[in-house]
């Protein structure tokens, strides 16, 4: 290391005299065909990171010296490389229209590459692709946009994490979220919530303002992700924020949108009249309860807990730059209300990105964002007082209010619990990086980059004494403070015109410290005292932990004649999460590509504009396990203390052999552009083989530990990603662009530890949840259930199938069989943009096919309980009364109600086809004509639009739930596709305006 430093210093010093005379080069870039000036063309001083962009009139100006090579590039035009003559000060350039994305530069791990020459399987979503879609979180922008990325909004709860999968699920019990990186800073993505927190884990991207995003790159294959080594197995999402442009006139942009939100679907439960009738005719016979007299007024609980939510979103940004400095400043305020009472989200964020070119050799920059969110949260859907859950569970004869307008039984009244308590959740986040780039020569540069992600989340709740006891309160603060540094040496040079070489070597160190502190209190003299400090009794707790990751990163690219492409990547990671002997792991990838359209025999065909084949193979890892899972531990704290004495209790089995989970992935890709680039097809086949899976396995309780983390098992994800982009119509007034993304996935668990075998001798892992089980030889999310047959029309008894296919009315656990998978076979999007004169129309579909969804709420809504009065599904009205009835529910006197074999017991009766096609967004915009704009003298662009989200969903006609797009446990890999009163997705209508000054 020391030696390296000296070398580094020496090289820095040795280039000092290299400063030379600079001159200003100006010119205009125009389109070859029309001669129209081209704004926004990127001009890259080769061998440096110096870039400028052309002005709206196509002109540019940049500082050059000597005879540098310039690269002119722009979306939809073929790039041109030109050498600047000595003492030349003016250079006008014409670019040829390409109408393809080829020439674009894409952000990849630790650098950028030309889309045309990359051998990595990456998908890019650019600002232009989503600028018309107001989104609460950036992940939503990926849904249906990228082949091979499956995204399920876990629940309609505001602020929740989504289930995002890049090429299937590479792990069973370790984390399965992709790694999110913003401007080179990997984000903290732990979970920081309590029972009051509501729903699944918080969304790690919640604080990122979608308006600030320039592009999102999804790294899919090993060639792309291996550079993130031990964290690459689940794919990586790189988010680049807007940076402004050199010599770009300052542009001020204002966006405003306001919308109305309602649930996308609902579950039918009985109304007052139906319930009273059903109770007296049916439930009384089942339970022996006395009939009820209908109250004067029944209560419509489902509509009491829902509302039309309103949302407002304001975004204001400015960007631009001069010769030496470019900037982007963005601010955003959003105020969202869910359609469920008590759930609101306010977001405030600001960003400043600044880059300054000090001189020919040095460029320094900073990207920084600060954000604040303020949420009103509701208890998790499984909580006894979750509003949506209780709205469906409460019977219509359970009053909400007493005769004099007070809350009826407030402790147990969900309305009282929402209105007489506060349940706040705040996040404060500062994310950013500062860097310096030093060009030693035009082909060798150094970069040092220092990043941070300081996340602080805070929960505050206060419950009125009217809700039981004498009032309770709590405050908890979680901090996750991450720091990282990356220092790299980069080399990029072309030799003898035919050999292109680029090399990267970097060292990175990343560390994060987590701390939490909590106080809870009970006993308040008055509800006017909001803070926990005013309580009679307080308890406090504080914990902390930290991890570190040290990495050595290498990448080399070689290109021969710009048609034969090679790349190799190596990353060595050391992690504090493993014992000394297993601490370091090596991850690598090799890839190659052949641009066949550069070959004469393809050119001779005449109709192929571009054609590339790629192949890659490599190894990535996954370290998403607990901080100290390899140790045997005795834990201190209140769970171990006794009678005022400090205690210790065993909490973890020692496992020094614990090591990385590894995925070996092969990828074959083909990209073809034909018909003057108007039809572009990219198809990739992949096979990802994950082994040494980090399994959180169930062990017999007689060991004293219920679970242990182990490396065992293998899993394979195989699939095809297909993306077809076409421009079916392209005239002066009318342009229609259409894109179809399609991901096919086949997931199979290849092997599991032999400790647990089922009756058929298959290895399996028992999930903590009931409906699914991980079975060797089957898909990860395999439902393992009793097969429900239906109500016997002759007897009125419910019937199931035994394992060998016979009919039974008393099934046993051993009759459970495989009943499908929660993992979709096909997911994708179908996106259309039509522009006609001043109008634009966006029609985006998202679909999922071949997956099952388990709606466990029907275990309760279809059930009749003896001791608990709950509302029931309206379908129960169709109960068996006489022989021959094709009934939904059994007869009231069926033995099944007595012998513990309720027809609502867990079975395929709650399992539904989860395939759906959803009109994700439908938008219509009007762009104010330039003539009108000119009259305003200040506006240079204006668009007014109306947009609908989730307006229309096609689903199975047997589907009884509110929404097939559901995943109760958010990011938990083992229980995708299960619901327990999960909130449906919001259906919204939004109107808005985009103004450019």
């Amino acid at each position: 290391m020391k030696k390296g430093v000296f070398l580094y210093l020496f090289s820095l010093i040795s280039v000092l005299p290299a400063f030379a005379q600079m001159r200003t080069l100006t010119g205009t870039v125009t389109a070859d065909s029309s001669g129209a000036p081209l704004p926004g063309v990127t001009i890259h001083l080769k061998g440096s990171t110096y870039r400028v962009a052309t002005n709206p009139d196509g002109t540019y100006s940049m500082n050059v010296d000597g005879t540098p090579e310039l690269l002119f590039s722009m979306v939809g035009y073929s790039s041109r490389e030109l050498k600047v003559g000595p003492a030349m000060t003016r250079l006008d350039v014409k670019l040829q229209s390409l109408s393809s994305k080829l020439s674009e530069v894409v952000v990849v791990g630790y650098g950028e590459q030309s889309q045309q020459y990359t051998t990595q399987a990456v998908s890019v979503v650019k600002a232009a692709d989503f600028s018309n879609v107001p989104a609460v979180t950036p992940q939503q922008l990926l849904q249906g946009q990228v082949a091979g990325v499956s995204m399920t909004n876990s629940s309609g709860l505001l602020g929740n994490a989504s289930l995002l999968r890049v090429r299937g699920t590479a792990s069973i019990t370790a984390g399965t979220q992709p790694l999110f990186i913003v401007d080179g800073v990997p984000l903290n993505d732990g979970s920081y919530n309590t029972a009051y927190g509501g729903g699944a884990s918080l969304n790690p991207l919640l604080e990122i303002n979608p308006e600030d995003i320039e592009s999102m790159t999804v790294l899919k294959d090993a060639a792309a992700a291996a550079i993130y080594g031990s964290r690459g197995s689940n794919g990586v999402v790189l988010i680049a924020t807007k940076k402004g442009g050199y010599r770009q006139k300052t542009q001020i942009k204002l966006d405003y949108a306001t919308g109305w939100v309602s649930p996308a679907g609902k579950i039918d439960v009985m109304n007052g009249e139906e319930y009273v009738g059903f109770f007296n005719n049916y439930i009384t016979k089942v339970t022996g309860a006395a009939p009820i007299t209908p109250p004067a007024q029944t209560t419509d609980w489902p509509s009491l807990v829902t509302r039309t939510g309103r949302n407002n979103n304001y975004a204001l940004s400015a960007s631009g730059g001069n010769e030496k400095t470019r900037f982007y400043i963005g601010g955003n305020y959003a105020n969202d209300e869910s359609f469920v009472i008590g759930n609101n989200l306010q977001k405030l964020s600001g960003r400043i990105n600044l880059e300054h070119t000090a001189n020919k050799h040095l460029r320094i920059g900073v990207n920084f964002t600060t954000a604040y969110t303020n949420m009103d949260r509701i208890t998790v859907e499984s909580g006894t007082l979750a509003p949506y859950t209780r709205g469906l569970q409460n019977t219509p004869v359970t009053p909400a209010y007493t005769a004099d307008g007070q809350y009826a039984t407030p402790t147990n009244n969900v309305l009282a619990n929402i209105n007489l308590s506060t349940n706040k959740y705040y996040t404060r986040r500062n994310t950013g990086n500062a860097y310096a780039k030093l060009n030693i020569t035009d082909y060798l540069w150094l970069k040092t980059d220092w990043g941070m992600d300081l996340l602080e989340t805070e929960e505050r709740y206060r419950r009125s004494s009217k809700l039981g006891s004498t009032g309770t309160a709590g405050r908890a603060i979680w901090q996750d403070y991450k720091w990282l540094t990356t220092n790299s040496v980069n080399f990029e040079k072309r030799f003898a015109e035919t050999h292109y070489v680029s090399l990267l070597a970097a060292h990175s160190y990343e560390t994060a410290r987590y701390d939490d502190i909590r106080v809870t209190g009970t006993g308040f003299i008055s509800d006017l005292l909001p803070n926990v400090g005013s309580a009679a009794t307080n308890t406090g707790n504080a914990t902390g932990k930290a991890w570190g990751l040290e990495s050595y990163i290498f990448r080399g690219n070689y290109r021969y004649k710009d048609k034969y492409l090679f790349e190799g990547t190596l990353r060595r990671d050391g992690s504090s999460r493993f014992d000394g002997n297993n601490r370091y792991g090596n991850f690598w990838a090799v890839s190659g590509g052949w641009i066949m359209s550069e070959e004469q025999f393809i050119r001779d065909l005449g109709f192929i504009d571009y054609m590339k084949v790629t192949a890659s193979y490599g190894v990535t890892g996954n370290d998403r396990i607990g901080y100290y899972d390899y140790m045997g531990l005795y834990t201190a704290g209140v769970d171990a203390n006794y009678g005022g004495n400090a205690g210790l209790r065993p909490t973890q089995i020692r496992n020094p052999k614990l090591s990385w989970e590894e995925s070996r992935q092969m990828d074959l890709g083909l990209a073809v552009h034909v018909l003057d680039n108007r039809l572009q097809v990219a198809v990739n086949y992949y096979s990802k083989h994950s082994e040494n899976l980090l399994l959180y396995v169930v062990v017999p309780s007689t060991t004293g530990f219920g679970f242990a983390t182990r490396n065992a098992g293998e899993m394979r994800n195989r699939g095809v990603d297909l993306q077809i982009t076409g421009v079916p119509v392209k005239t002066r007034d009318l342009q229609w662009t259409t894109t179809l993304n399609l991901g096919y996935l086949n997931n199979k668990v290849l092997s599991l530890p032999p400790d647990n075998r089922d009756d058929e001798g298959r290895n399996y892992i028992l999930s903590s949840y009931n409906g699914q089980r991980v079975l060797q030889g089957h898909s990860l999310n395999t439902f393992y259930l009793l097969r429900y047959k239906g109500i016997n029309p002759e007897t009125g008894d419910p019937e199931w199938y035994t394992k060998d296919g016979k009919t039974t009315s008393t099934p046993a656990a051993k009759d459970q069989t495989i009943a499908g998978s929660a993992m979709p076979k096909w997911t994708g999007g179908f996106n259309n943009t039509v522009r006609y004169k001043q109008f634009d129309l966006g029609v985006n579909f998202y679909f999922s096919y071949g997956n099952k969804v388990m709606l466990t709420e029907f275990k309760e809504l279809d059930n009749v309980y003896k001791n608990v009065a709950t509302n029931v599904s309206r379908d129960l009205l169709n109960y068996w009364q006489k022989p021959g009835d094709q009934a939904f529910a059994p007869s009231a006197t069926s033995a099944s109600w007595k012998n513990g074999n309720s027809f609502a017991q867990q079975s395929t009766a709650q399992l539904f086809d989860g395939s759906f096609l959803r009109l994700k967004t439908l938008s219509l915009g009007y762009n104010v004509p330039a003539g009108l704009l000119n009259n305003t003298h200040i506006l240079s662009g204006a668009r007014l639009y109306v947009m609908g989200q989730n307006l229309w969903t096609v689903k199975s006609k047997h589907f009884r739930g509110a929404d097939p797009e559901v995943s109760q446990y958010g990011t938990n890999a083992q229980v995708a596709g299960e619901s327990y009163y999960s909130l449906p997705q919001p259906k919204s209508i939004t109107v808005g305006a985009n103004l450019i000054f």
Partner: protein, 476 residues
């Protein structure tokens, strides 16, 4: 110095910092809330804290923090159940092996048991010259006591009582060694085998246990000689070894630390009435915002949410003799089904659920001894005196030798007193089962030996253990 040079110097400084950034040592991160297992049994104080960990685990709602206790009452005829679905299905005998609360109950009992096994196995070998032999023996003896009371409760929940086939029915897996990383699969054995292990542990522990502790919290909250005698008395009573049941009850009653309380204000008081109570405090309750009061009380006076009100049958039992002071320890509240029902006031704290868990108290020894003596000798003066002490305290008339014509009538009366004295403390189910009574008056089938009067072995355990597979309790 010109501007350019300044930039260079800053850069060099940055680069130098990077070079000096020594990372390898930061890759060794140690946990902050826990210590490695190897470092626990290295001194007297850390060994004691591991013992406290066993008691602490026993505070859990799933162990002695309320759940097995309410099941003891509502699966029997003392209470109804208006709790959540998984509790409700136990009261209607429709629980399944997949029940998460039954699964957690099983798991956390063994969690506590393994903590005890570790203490028993590791403490004798601790290298600490200041750790005296007396202390070591006492810690081991306390862990053995805890192991036996944990196994006893687990056995009562998951196995048929001794009265079915004289203890020959399947028991529960018994593990008495510390877990060393190798997973074993113990089988269920028989009820007698489990009882034998419990008896052995208790008998072995008695010589080494303390008589009492100066701190009242520890005197009632840690295992003592009296606690071991008392648990043996209960074990022998359940096994109908009447002489020993009477003898060990007497050993408790003769002990200096114990005396029948004069009235019913002793709950959560750590008085001489308590033989062994798991200690809860405001800051250290059973956990999960639950506890005895959570289940046995409405959430606040006059408001709803109560899981376990008096059953009609228990109200009738109290109604037969007016002015019972034990019945006065109750009030009306709203139950989970929104009806006004009667709830016990034995565990009033619905705020922090800090009421202690009264697992063994002197009153039970009176009842054990009276029952055992009567079983041996018929209606007898000693037993009458014991029972009259309880009846006087309850404000009821005393019994005489002529009150009962037969031994059985007296035994029935003792059992009835036992019910009223120990209601809402989790005893009733085992008392009914061992006496051959049905758990439901209106359903004579719910007797010992019947299906579903005991809980199902959790499916999770059957699935992961070849020794348990196929050994589910019949009916599940």
């Amino acid at each position: 110095m010109n501007r350019k040079n300044k930039i260079w110097i800053w850069l060099l400084a940055g680069v130098t910092c990077t070079g000096l950034f020594s990372c390898s040592k930061d890759l060794q991160q140690d946990p902050e809330q826990a210590i490695p297992t190897d470092d626990v049994f290295t001194s007297g104080p850390t060994s004691l804290s591991a013992l406290y960990g066993v008691y602490s685990r026993s505070q859990r709602p799933e162990v002695f923090g309320g759940q097995p206790q309410i099941i003891g009452d509502y699966m029997a005829d003392n209470a109804d159940c208006y709790g959540t679905v998984y509790f409700g299905e136990i009261s209607t005998f429709t629980a399944t092996a997949a029940s998460p609360i039954i699964s957690e109950m099983w798991r956390i009992h063994f969690d506590a048991i393994m903590g005890a096994n570790m203490v028993i196995e590791k403490v004798p070998a601790v290298q600490d010259p200041t750790f005296t032999a007396t202390e070591r023996k006492m810690y081991v003896a306390e862990a053995k006591f805890m192991r036996s009371i944990l196994y006893f409760q687990l056995l009562n929940l998951f196995s048929q009582p001794y009265q079915v086939q004289q203890g020959g029915m399947p028991g529960i897996p018994i593990v008495t060694t510390a877990f060393d990383g190798t997973i074993n699969y113990p089988s269920r054995g028989t009820v007698n085998e489990a009882h034998a292990q419990i008896e052995k542990d208790l008998l072995e522990s008695i010589p080494d246990l303390a008589t009492t502790f100066p701190d009242p919290v520890l005197a009632r909250g840690r295992a003592t000689k009296g606690a071991a005698y008392a648990l043996l008395s209960r074990l022998y009573l359940y096994r109908e070894q009447w002489d020993k049941a009477a003898q060990y009850a007497d050993s408790v009653l003769n002990g200096a630390p114990y005396k029948l309380a004069a009235d019913y204000s002793f709950y959560d008081g750590n008085t001489m009435e308590d033989v062994f109570s798991i200690q809860n405090t405001e800051n250290d309750g059973p956990g999960g915002s639950q506890g005895w009061a959570f289940y046995y009380r409405p959430l606040a006076a006059g408001q709803s949410g109560g899981y376990c009100p008096f059953s009609a049958s228990l109200e009738t039992a109290f109604a037969q003799e007016a002015n019972d002071k034990r019945f006065a320890m109750s009030d009306e509240g709203t139950a989970g089904n929104n009806q006004k029902r009667r709830f016990t006031l034995k565990f009033p704290n619905v705020i922090t659920f800090k009421d202690n868990a009264p697992l063994i108290r002197v009153t039970e020894m009176y009842l054990n001894r009276a029952e055992a003596l009567t079983a041996l000798n018929g209606v007898n003066q000693d037993a009458l005196e014991l029972m009259n002490a309880l009846r006087r305290r309850a404000g009821l008339s005393e019994w005489t030798l002529t009150t009962f014509q037969t031994k059985d009538a007296f035994l029935t009366a003792i059992l009835n007193e036992r019910r009223k004295e120990l209601c809402f403390e989790g005893h009733r189910r085992m008392d009914q089962l061992r006496k051959g009574l049905s758990l439901r008056e209106n359903d004579p089938e719910r007797i010992a030996g019947a299906e579903r009067v005991i809980l199902p072995i959790p499916q999770r355990e059957l699935d992961v253990s070849p020794a348990l597979k196929g050994h589910q309790n019949p009916g599940y």
